[in-house]
Subunit: 480 residues, 2 copies
């Protein structure tokens, strides 16, 4: 998706500079912990002060890191027509990531399986508004933990031809993701990344060993990385928006500097996953006004640094796709797109604070994404758009339905939602008085029946299955 | 509410100028119909070309009208602490206007009564996020049509002390509204308006006799007017956003010029109620991307003219407060506030395309308004907001919950939603697995039980009841 509308500017240049300076203070004076000896040595070699696992950067290191990171890059997809530009005026929407449970109204809430994972790959493949197949769409809890990442990478390739994400559960699993991608993409993937991987920071100010292990593998293979502090203001950051932004910004900058020390020019995305706790329950709140401000300001910081920005999504704490789910999702998603976000993870399917992937929620979110795609096209101010001819044709009090101009635009004029009901209450009641969730459930069934896979070269498929069989049989990673 | 955040700018100055010129073309070359002889004579006296009921303005007349209209004004409330600034960086939220039906989950959909009207006055009075009592909250269909407006004005005064709207159903009913307001506000209301009234344009390009009758009464009494074309793109305007904007803008400008010819300096608001039809059913669509673009551009046009702007609201086609209702409402409301709208009618309670006022929807919308009020406060970038002290205090991987800074902000840090559930799924299920609509229904009952009226001077109440009794007995309007 291309933004043909400007990004919202919450803060002015002075405000952004104030946040930047606060982050530099954190990086230079307070330091960030990296739980990886090799990483700490690397920082030391490049002039950072290091004590144990704590690293204090210098402003020069930050500047140099930012200067090396590309402003925009292309992620390869199995179908080259689906290659994705990440950064600039582009927006990539990817589905929900991480839930161990799934929900649909008929079968309720239950542990996610590989069959669910593959269903969500299919649903993402079928939506024109999801450009990306995502990563851990759900945790396939029926598959062994040790080889689950192989099943997921394979399923993305088998059931979709859209770009996908690599595993970050360990350095070895990351290496498996790279090896399997290479079977599909060949050496071209070291010029333009075929994988993008989500590296979380354990806020406050800590990169753990597991994430650093994966980060090193991807950076050295020149695959794309999203550096995202997982921040709940009030718990893992101060109870203020500005304080949380300052800390998040410092954490992201530290991660970006590291990627560029490992491999200058490696594609990297400025990530934000920032909201606040509910002080009553300690739970995270999604769709809060504080998170809206956070997304808007974070996107501006990323743009200030010339980096692609990841943030937002259709996030909610609701357990079912009700009014709370929709309200919270929109309270996050609209600011996300109005802020000009470049990569939106969790753009469809998220429920219950990310514990659940909802089937009905998934297609409802895709419907809303369709609307937002139309919004992002902006206003056509050409003569044909201004339609003065049509206005002259229709008399005061008259009707445009039969006007020449209307007939010309009839087919394409307005976004047409399939899941939203515009009928009279009588028609709606005669048809069963369904709520949006029920209509969405029917849509899910229709889509999964209609799904036809994108063709996959049998030789590639065989190579993938062979690789998986060897790894499942306990063979060590070919690269290790 | 005060906007401490900047307004979103969808269009640049050139785009706005293009729309302005297109509107001037419509006003000068195509003309607008006014179904009122006195109005047509007035236009002719001021140099407009008039033929029958069609009026062609000149650019000078438009400029002069815009120069006379105030940029901002204060609407009086019975409680002076609730007087409202309309325009500039202020935002007034008012409840739903016009539905002949009400809905709640327990009793279903049914014709609205005066008891419902008074309930909604109470609910609006109790919400800190509705600054205004509104107008025709619902049509009290159990009261005689001829005197219904008296019941409504009285109920606003009796059950609330917030500002309210006058009747526009006829010139006489408008005069009743003014007379009853004068019993409360005295002659002060001719310095600062005590009433605001909603004048719809019958798009395309037509002001009908009924609306002009009411408009004349209010303008001559220096009460505030909102000039709002009711425009569905594809039916009452071209099937393009730009064409609809150009026509709407011409219609609003014509109405504003008229108000300033009638009474220079009369407060007037640039109104927009613009969306599109669903070409499949012919029904209006709410929350469409086209309407989002419309709101954003309309707000910019109003600002360009230095006029307060009315637009948006929590609009939906849904019949019940489900995911569709919430999604559509947010798809309108968030752009409304991000566009810097000054007066938001239908900010709570709207269902089913405006045919229904929903009880649960009303309080759900108020919850969302509360969040948006917090958003509008923006980011505190002071030292206390940046919280570098707190960040220094908490070690990497540590916890902010017990930090000094967190304790200082604990009470006020984050907006706390009452109707949204943040608990675990187990807690939620143990408590009945309620959806947002069920929780909202309980909130409605709690609020109506807890309601206590704002005190009303018995002498004023007696005067109002006496006035209504005389008018109901068939006495002619005192002023006529």
């Amino acid at each position: 998706m291309h933004y043909n509308v400007p990004a919202y500017r919450l803060l002015d240049a002075e405000g952004l500079e104030r946040l930047h300076q606060a982050s530099l203070h954190i990086l230079v004076e307070l330091g960030i912990d990296f739980h990886d000896d090799e990483v700490c040595s690397l920082f030391r070699r490049h002039g950072a002060r290091v004590d144990g696992r704590r690293v204090w950067l210098t402003p020069d290191l930050v500047e140099a890191g930012l200067a090396r990171a590309p402003q925009q890059f292309v992620q390869l997809a199995r179908n080259p027509a689906r290659n994705l530009s990440v950064g600039g005026e582009h927006c990539v929407c990817a589905p929900v990531y991480g839930p161990p449970f799934v929900f649909d109204r008929e079968r309720g809430r239950r542990p996610a399986t590989l069959a669910d994972f593959q269903n969500f790959v299919r649903l993402a493949y079928l939506s024109p508004y999801l450009h990306h197949s995502g990563g851990t769409l759900v945790e396939p809890t029926d598959r062994p933990l040790a080889t689950r990442h192989l099943d997921m990478v394979y399923s993305h390739i088998k059931y979709s031809d859209k770009a996908f994400m690599g595993s970050v559960t360990s350095a070895e699993n990351a290496a498996d993701s790279v090896a399997m991608a290479e079977l599909v993409f060949g050496p071209a993937m070291y010029q333009q990344p075929a994988l993008i991987a989500l590296i979380n920071v354990n806020s406050p100010r800590l990169f753990d060993a597991r994430m650093l292990g994966a980060l090193k593998v991807y950076a050295r293979a020149r695959q794309a990385l999203i550096i995202t502090p997982f921040v709940l203001a009030g718990a893992m950051a101060p109870a203020t928006v500005a304080g949380t932004l300052a800390q998040q910004n410092a954490e992201v900058l530290a991660g970006i500097v590291l990627t560029q020390l490992l491999e200058p020019g490696t594609p990297v995305v400025y990530g934000s996953f920032m909201t606040n706790v509910d002080f009553k329950s300690g739970a995270p709140v999604f769709g809060s006004p504080e998170s809206q401000l956070g997304i808007m300001a974070s996107a501006q910081l990323a743009r200030r640094y010339g980096l692609p920005f990841r943030g937002g999504g259709m996030l909610t704490s609701a357990k079912i796709p009700d009014a709370q789910a929709a309200a919270e999702s929109l309270m996050v998603m609209l600011p996300t797109l109005m802020a000009g976000t470049n990569f939106v993870l969790h753009a469809a399917g998220w429920l219950e604070g990310g514990l659940v992937a909802g089937y009905e929620k998934f297609v409802l979110d895709c419907e809303i994404l369709g609307m937002l795609h139309t919004w992002a096209k902006g206003v056509d101010l050409s003569d044909e758009g201004l339609a003065l001819e049509a206005i002259a044709e229709v008399s005061p009090g008259g009707q445009y339905l039969a006007a020449e101009h209307t007939l010309r635009h009839f087919r394409t004029a307005f976004y047409r939602a399939e899941l939203f009901d515009y009928r009279t209450v009588e028609q709606w009641a005669a048809d069963g008085a369904q709520d949006a969730c029920q209509r969405a459930g029917e849509q899910v069934r229709r889509l999964l029946v209609a799904y036809e896979p994108a063709p996959l070269d049998p030789a590639i498929e065989e190579a993938l299955l062979d690789y998986m069989a060897r790894r499942t049989a306990g063979q060590s990673h070919p690269a290790s």
